[in-house]
């Protein structure tokens, strides 16, 4: 299978400046040397808690945030590969037709002063330079695809509920017929019953249009439902990457284990396994040498403080960044009370 997107050693560092001369005294390493590939037609999940860098990474891939280092190779329609990080502005604008994004909050991502028709026509006009007659046809087609009536085009965002607004945001992302879509927490702001509707819509769109998704989320049940492979991030780095069913059945990194153990399950009278994690993530400023997770890890040793673990293959293609991955005790299971 072809690789649609290859991220290599991507870094986003924000300088910390001090004093009257604003001298740089350090850097917040929001994304610190991340590499992964996404296959054509795949849904790749990116999970982690707030501040782990998952949204920054997604924005850097789209160049909504200029990366500090590394490359993002995108496979073009003609089969050629281009590096998104060094593309000049006109070429980048042309590429936006193929790379789109759906944001988390459908209340702030739609312009309240534009009708839905104008919002949807904008990418077609700006990127593809299509005339007004065809634009109208494309808007009608896009609304129908996400299950909204044609007359929605004349209305404004405030007339729609959160779920309907997220359908509009999806229609806007898909109207240029992209190949790759970043979904940044697209269902996190929605009610449970509406969330399921939007998830079904995302699945349908992917099947009909052969889309490749990068799905960013903190909700592991949604990630399991939608994704083929998942990368778990902690403080700017990937700590585990692998096939979703394997990771949920047998997580290898202590952090992945505690994330999975912490999910509240809709099954009463189950005894949760021990969380295996204490406290909260330290701020990105306080990361010293060694493994970033060691301050919360019950298995940390001197080795973890001395040397940062690198992502390594455990033999089945799954990657984990932990010195002790092979020697950790078996994964605790949920048991009936």
């Amino acid at each position: 299978m072809n690789t649609q997107l290859q991220v290599t050693d991507l870094r986003v560092h924000y300088p910390i400046r001090k004093g009257v001369f604003r001298r740089q005294v350090g850097a917040v390493r929001a994304v610190d040397g991340v590499s992964f590939g996404i296959a054509e037609g795949e849904t790749f999940g990116l999970v982690g808690e707030s501040g782990c860098g998952k949204s920054t990474l997604a924005r850097a891939i789209l160049r909504l945030q200029q990366p500090t280092g590394g490359t993002v190779q995108f496979r073009h329609r003609d089969g050629g590969e281009i590096d998104v990080t060094s593309l000049p502005a006109p070429a980048m604008r042309a590429l936006r037709r193929d790379i789109q994004i759906v944001f988390q909050d459908p209340y702030s991502s739609l312009n309240p002063r534009l009708s839905i028709g104008m919002t949807l026509a904008e990418p077609v006009r700006a990127i593809e330079g299509v005339g007004s007659r065809e634009r109208r046809a494309r808007v009608a087609e896009a609304l129908a695809a996400v299950g909204l009536p044609m007359e929605a085009a004349r209305r404004f965002p405030h007339e729609f509920s959160g779920g309907q607004r997220q359908r509009i945001a999806i229609a806007r992302a898909l109207i240029t017929r992209p190949r790759f879509v970043v979904l940044d927490e697209p269902v996190s702001a929605l009610d449970v019953s509406i969330r399921a509707q939007v998830l079904n819509l995302l699945v349908d769109m992917q099947r009909e249009r052969a889309l490749t998704y990068l799905f960013v989320s903190h909700d592991l049940s949604v990630v399991r439902y939608l994704c083929n492979r998942v990368a778990v991030m902690y403080l700017g780095r990937i700590v585990e990457l692998g096939e979703v069913d394997r990771m949920f059945a047998a997580p290898r990194h202590p952090y992945t284990r505690s994330l999975l153990a912490a999910i509240p399950r809709p099954q009463p009278r189950k005894i949760r396994p021990p969380l295996g994690v204490v406290g909260e993530p330290p701020g990105p400023l306080s990361v010293a040498g060694g493994c970033a997770f060691r301050s919360r890890c019950p298995h940390a040793t001197g080795h973890c403080a001395a040397e940062p673990p690198v992502l390594r293959d455990l033999g089945n293609g799954d990657l984990v960044a932990c010195h002790h991955a092979e020697t950790l005790p078996a994964t605790p299971r949920f048991v009936a009370a």
Binding site: E49, S161, Q164, S193, A196, R224, A262, P266, L275, E280
Partner: protein, 333 residues
């Protein structure tokens, strides 16, 4: 359900939205809830269903344009006659809130005062309700921070909210809520703003404190996983009314109302095969109640003609299990 009388009982509570110069509109209706010592009742539902205004009503804390339209809120504390919160004077209400009723809000950043050290915010309640001296209240604040699992409480007591992480702020909120050992704890989406590993720790703390202090807890949440792991009994709200009430066990193993079933079917499973989700069709309705028909009829996959003609009442369908749905009424009749 325990045989003892409930510590807090809401009877027939209806909240109204009465904008200045506008007509009053009912937001909730016929809400009956009973909170028992040492037990947790979860109130679940989607945005606008009326769960948060019910939490405010439980403390008689509604502020204009919201007001209590109907109903009574009975507080029974040991060694005192039952009191109706709707009939207390403002001074008596102030004494009850914070004293016998503790509350935790969703967002600890906005609920804490940014200009005061957290220790002062905890001590304020202790001095007002228990009449402790400044010195004694400070010492007790340190103990409370210890109780809610904050390390180095002697140092943290002097921290301002911005110096604490989200999880620690929520622990401070909990310390304030339980400072006077209240009989009732009302927690409105206490972990929604938190990361999942922090959420697990905070819920653990609430369970432990509930058991240790014997508090009756009302837990408001939209997360059915949080309900399953923390509640003894559950009430499901839709369009301002309770549509199903059951033990947590019964609600998850034998959900009776089509809305409850729809909510459970909307959840992506955490194990087993990944079948297509079966969402509830339509939109989440805006806040407000209707009387003429079943509140769920517009989205219900099992709607019948009689659901349009009348509104089903909440009726017992099994021991400790009630639902407001004609599907079950026909069986009983």
């Amino acid at each position: 359900m325990s045989g003892a009388e409930p510590v807090l009982e809401m009877r027939d509570v209806g909240v109204e939205l009465a904008p200045l110069g506008g007509a009053a509109r009912r937001i909730t209706s016929d809400v009956d809830l009973a909170l028992h010592a040492g037990r947790t009742l979860a109130l679940v539902g989607e945005s606008g269903c009326g769960k948060s205004v019910t939490a405010l009503a439980a403390m008689n804390l509604l502020a204009p344009p919201l007001r209590l339209g109907t109903g009574h809120i009975l507080l029974r504390t040991p060694g005192a006659a039952p009191r109706d919160l709707t009939r207390l004077s403002p001074a008596e209400l102030r004494a009850a809130r914070g004293g016998q009723l503790g509350m935790i809000f969703q967002d600890p950043m906005t609920a804490l005062d940014p200009a005061f050290q957290v220790g002062e915010q905890i001590a304020e309640s202790l001095r007002a309700h228990l009449g402790l001296s400044r010195r004694a209240a400070h010492d007790r604040a340190v103990e409370l921070l210890q109780l809610v699992g904050i390390h180095e409480p002697e140092r943290r007591v002097r921290a301002y909210p911005f110096q604490l992480s989200g999880g620690m702020r929520q622990r401070v909120m909990i310390a304030i809520a339980v400072a006077c050992s209240p009989a009732v704890l009302i927690a409105d989406e206490p972990t929604t703003a938190l990361d999942v590993t922090v959420q697990a720790q905070i819920l653990e703390l609430l369970r432990e404190l509930g058991a240790r202090l014997g508090m009756a807890t009302l837990l408001i949440t939209h997360d059915l996983g949080v309900v399953a792991e923390n509640a003894d009994t559950v009430a499901v709200m839709y369009r301002g009314r309770i549509v199903e009430r059951a033990s947590a066990e019964a609600l998850f193993t034998a959900p009776a109302h089509p809305y409850t079933r729809g909510l459970l079917a909307s959840l992506p499973p955490l194990d087993g095969p990944r079948e297509r989700l079966r969402p509830i069709p339509g939109q989440v309705p805006p806040a407000g109640v209707a009387d003429a028909d079943c509140p769920f009829v517009a989205r219900c996959p099992e709607a019948m003609p009689r659901c349009l003609a009348a509104r089903p009442a909440l009726t017992a369908i099994a021991p400790e299990h009630e639902a407001a749905c004609f599907l079950h009424a026909t069986v009983a009749a």
